[in-house]
């Protein structure tokens, strides 16, 4: 689905927390704590999101239409019914992609200035 470029660009740049959460949700819906844990493990402990930051970000992402609550629940046995799951919307994906592209361009810039070694494409 194509989105109005203006609409997407208005949300950029994303805060680190929002971008991390979107990255986490790329693989499917998750609940709050799962997001917190994955963000931390993906960044090898470099980025830690507390509950306040997490739910403030989620609130904003819900408002902006980047994520939505989902009824679909993974088949885990001891899942709490009251627990809320969030998944990325298509618009959220488009915004995350735009942000990734923006960051990639910055990285390319840094490489051109010899701040970073060129990565070999694999």
């Amino acid at each position: 689905m194509r989105y109005n470029k203006r609409e997407v660009a208005d949300l950029l740049p994303l805060t680190p927390a929002v971008f991390h959460i979107l990255l986490t949700l790329c693989d499917g819906g998750k609940h709050g704590y799962a997001i917190m844990r994955e963000v931390e493990s993906r960044s090898a402990g470099g980025v830690r999101i507390g509950p306040g930051t997490l739910y403030r970000s989620i609130q904003k992402m819900l408002d902006d239409g980047l994520v939505e609550e989902t009824e679909a629940r993974p088949h885990t046995e001891n899942d709490d019914e009251r627990r809320r799951y969030y998944e990325m919307t298509d618009f959220g994906r488009a915004v995350a992609a735009a942000e990734a592209k923006r960051l990639a361009e910055i990285v390319r810039e840094a490489q051109a200035k010899k701040l970073l070694p060129k990565l070999r494409s694999t």
Binding site: R37, G50, P51, R56, Q59, D80, R83
Partner: protein, 876 residues
């Protein structure tokens, strides 16, 4: 689950209280769950992980809780601005109303604060106290020395007294305000000269030996051309050379705050400046002291009173005094008389300004209420999508705070402008004692305006917010009109606000009407003497060291010269000047009355042609004649009211009075003069006694010149003639009209201030009533459409709307009159010959107000009826 995890979960629940309620409601459980799981997992991974987890959560909490509040606030403000931008006329009307209300309040606060609380322009002013004697007298110099040398509670005591001094030579000489001060004056006050130095201790020890002067920054700039080489330069004070030793910084204007003191000289030079006999012992000083560290003012007062007892015990030769001494912190206008007057005026103005503010607030309140009815649906929609009532109230209050914030900014701008106008305004007091004060908007004004706007914002916002937030979604959304019960309440509140506005406007308008009438009356008042073609010029030979025979000769010569001028009808001298604000006093005993009770009346010194020059009729007997010389029996003329008072039912001619001085003198009454208003225009006739220049010489006299043509052309000639005789004599010639202006000044200021507040009040009421009428008409467009469609004529609809408004106005007028009858009589003594229940005022003001209210209702009603009924009904 281990116990400590349960405890930490519980603590985290508590911490969540810091988040806004709405956020907590939606995400609180989720956050707790995430926290508990994080705890559990970190515990399994080891103590380091657990500590790190807690640290993350705590720092996250301390950051995000305030952020969330801030976000909500920002959102409220964004909504508010958007909502206000949608109704610009409403926002503008409200902000202008509040700006005016807050503006006048904070202007009064700033000016009164400056006049009443500004500290002395000295270092650490909190430590400086002033002596006050219960009988109002100053402290004799020898007592001052004893207090200075034997007290235990002051680091220093200094004495001073203000006096006029003539500065400069020739025609450029002018009278300036000076302070004669003890040598330690500047040291005790802790102020240093900007250029040169202040006084040395030896400069005030021996009388007349150190003619030195410290000058003000203003005098240095205006009279000495900012000469950088001024130190050591010689200047002329009262005709004697003085050496300039220092120039003070601009901020230091002396210790009598309302006076612009231009120079300071040691008290030891008082003789040289022709002040008293030149003996320090005979001087009376105002005394300022600087408290030692940690000495409270009460302790210093006890110390001073202990010394006072010692002085009367050890020096029985001193005149004994029954007065007691007290100490006070001089601030603002500390001369008691001016202070009391300014305090009284401030109280009256505070009441006036308070009324304006109440009008402004009720104005905005009624506008908000009117607007609330049109927003009912908008609010209902917000409730339907989940906004809590608290959130709605907060939102509505934010809106009123945005309005009042705008009002605060507007008000401060107005204050900045008004204080500038007031600073540059010169009080037309003749002589060097023109009061001055520099008013500037300071942090206190800003704080005051902010607090005021906060209070007013909450005040006028609370009731409408409470009312409007009570939304019944079903009804509101279904038929698009407010629920009928709340409409009724809202109408009641709105009507009460309109009635209040009309009532208060009436009080203010009536008060201003009275002052305008009083000013008109004063202008037409005949003071009983000639005021049109008169030039007055004050001369003080005392400053110039004239002996009595020299002085008499001077006055003889100047009168002769002035009489020779073309266009001069008559010349005389007298003192003090009529209507100058000061008056003489004479005390005597009536001979042969059997009573030794002394009588004190107003006194005027008059030369031979005085009554003729000022055209004051002598009713019986005769005025003064050339034969009433020094060696002839002493004679006086008295006013008719004095005759009535002291000699009821009989003629006073030929009666004798006796002075109460050490060597009593007999005075024969030779004439009765018609009563005149010498003290103030329109005053009650004052018993007054006139004595002759020849028999009671004084070095200070006013030359009174009656002209047969325009006095303004003669004015310059009078000064010139004086300078022909003595080019160093300062002289200020003015026409009697100029003095009249001064005398009318209080009446004029009263009329201007109250007149402008009255107009302001009516303007505000107008905006409020118009706004409310416009909104309610807007609300009823459909109803009117229906009526017209059913055959009603436009005029019926207009009558309906205007009738409602006029009824409220009439109730308001009734209440306002009741209030005026209670409030206005106390201001009667500020009015000239005007009854506070002046029927003229009480008739015109209601008519004026009714016209205004009529227009404010008629215009919107007219517009409503112009609507096509088809369009109006389409709303259904």
């Amino acid at each position: 689950m281990p116990r400590w995890i349960r405890i930490s979960n519980w603590i985290y629940r508590l911490l969540q209280g810091a988040y806004p309620a709405e956020f907590r409601e939606i995400y609180g459980d989720e956050m707790s769950r995430a926290f508990a799981e994080g705890c559990e997992e970190s515990r399994r991974l080891g103590i380091t992980k657990l500590v790190r987890f807690f640290a993350t959560v705590l720092s996250d909490w301390s950051r995000t809780a305030p952020q969330e509040h801030f976000d909500q606030l920002r959102q409220d403000f964004r909504y508010s601005f958007a909502a206000l931008a949608r109704s610009k006329v409403f926002a503008l009307a409200a902000i202008i109303s509040l700006s005016l209300g807050i503006g006048v309040s904070s202007t009064l606060f700033t000016t009164a604060g400056t006049l009443l609380t500004r500290p002395l322009p000295v270092s650490d002013p909190q430590k400086v106290v002033m002596f006050r004697s219960s009988d109002g007298h100053d402290i004799p110099y020898p007592d001052y020395v004893l207090y200075r040398d034997t007290n235990r509670t002051f680091t220093g005591l200094t004495g001073f007294f203000p006096t006029p001094v003539s500065f400069g030579q020739g025609e450029k000489s002018e009278i300036v305000a000076a302070e004669l001060v003890t040598g330690n004056y500047f040291d005790v006050l802790g102020v240093r000269a900007a250029l040169g130095r202040t006084f040395l201790p030896e400069e005030d020890r021996t009388a007349g030996t150190h003619p030195v002067v410290v000058i003000s920054d203003m005098l240095w700039r205006q009279q000495l051309g900012s000469d950088p080489q001024v130190i050591g330069r010689s200047v002329t004070l009262n005709g004697r050379p003085f050496r300039v030793v220092g120039v003070m910084p601009p901020a230091f204007t002396g210790s009598a705050y309302l006076l612009k003191v231009q120079l300071w000289s040691p008290v030891a030079m008082s003789g040289t400046l022709n002040w008293g006999g030149g003996q320090l012992e005979q001087l009376q000083l105002m005394v300022l002291g600087r408290l030692k560290p940690n000495i409270p003012i009460e302790k210093a007062a006890a110390d001073v009173n202990r010394l006072q007892v010692l002085i009367s015990r050890d020096h029985p030769e001193r005149p004994q005094t029954l007065s007691t001494l007290s100490l006070f912190r001089p601030a603002g206008v500390f001369l008691t008389r001016e202070r009391r007057r300014i305090e009284n005026v401030t109280i009256v103005l505070m009441a006036v300004v308070g009324l304006i503010l109440v009008i402004a607030c009720s104005n905005v309140g009624s506008l908000l209420l009117a607007r609330a009815s049109s927003r009912h649906q908008e609010l209902a929609v917000r409730v339907a999508v989940g906004a809590s009532r608290l959130r709605l109230i907060r939102q509505l209050l934010t809106e009123s705070l945005v309005l009042s914030g705008g009002g605060a900014i507007g008000g401060l701008l107005m204050t900045a402008w008004l204080t500038r106008v007031l600073t540059t305004y010169n009080v037309p007091i003749p002589g060097p004692y023109a009061p001055f004060a520099e008013f500037t908007v300071n942090w206190r004004s800003v704080a005051f305006a902010s607090i005021l706007s906060l209070i007013t914002g909450l005040l006028f916002g609370m009731a409408p917010a409470w009312r409007s937030s009570r939304v019944d979604i079903a009804i509101a959304l279904k038929i698009g009109t407010p629920a009928s019960g709340s409409t009724y309440q809202r109408l009641r509140l709105r009507n009460a606000l309109i009635v209040t506005q009309v009532a208060l406007s009436f009080v203010l308008l009536a008060a201003s009407g009275l002052f305008v009438r009083s000013l008109l009356f004063a202008r037409q008042t005949d003071p009983g003497f000639e005021t049109r073609n008169i030039v007055l010029a004050s001369v003080n030979l005392g400053f110039q060291g004239y002996t009595v025979p020299q002085g008499r000769e001077f006055y003889r010569q100047i009168k002769e010269r002035l009489r020779a001028l073309p266009g001069v009808r008559a010349v005389s001298t007298g003192r003090p000047l009529p209507l100058s604000g000061s008056d003489g006093r004479a005390t005597f005993v009536v001979d042969g009355s059997g009573s030794e009770q002394p009588v004190t009346v107003a006194a005027t010194g008059a030369d031979v042609d005085y009554f003729d020059t000022l055209q004051i009729p002598i009713l019986r007997g005769r005025g003064f004649a050339a034969t009433d010389t020094r060696n002839a029996p002493r004679v006086v003329v008295i006013s008719e009211s004095m005759e009535r008072k002291l000699f009821p039912g009989m003629s006073a001619i030929g009666q004798r009075l006796r002075t109460t001085s050490a060597q009593p003198q007999a005075l024969e009454i030779i004439g009765i003069a018609k009563d005149v208003d010498f003290g103030a225009l329109g005053e009650d006739p004052q018993p007054r006694i006139y004595d002759t220049f020849e028999q009671s010489y004084a070095p200070t006299q006013s030359l009174v010149v009656a002209t047969s043509s325009d006095p303004n052309t003669i004015r310059e000639l009078v000064s010139r003639e004086v300078h022909m005789l003595n080019r160093n004599l300062p002289v200020e010639a003015k026409t009697m009209q100029e003095y009249l202006e001064f005398s009318l000044w209080p009446a004029r200021i009263g009329a201007i201030v109250l007149g402008s507040t009255g107009v302001l009040a009516v303007f505000l009421a107008c905006v409020g009533i118009y706004g409310v009428a416009a909104y309610s008409v807007g609300q009823r467009t459909r109803e009117f459409g229906t009526r017209i469609a059913l055959g009603a004529r436009s005029i019926d609809v207009v009558r309906l709307v205007v009738g409602d408004g006029m009824l409220l106005a009439l109730i308001g007028l009734g209440l306002g009159m009741g209030a005026a009858i209670v409030i206005l009589p106390p201001i009667a003594n500020l009015l000239y010959g005007t009854n506070p229940m002046d029927p003229m005022t009480f008739l015109t003001v209601p008519v004026l107000l009714l016209i205004v209210v009529f227009l404010a209702n008629y215009l919107p009603a007219r517009r409503a009826t112009a609507v096509d009924p088809v369009i109006a009904l389409r709303f259904e």
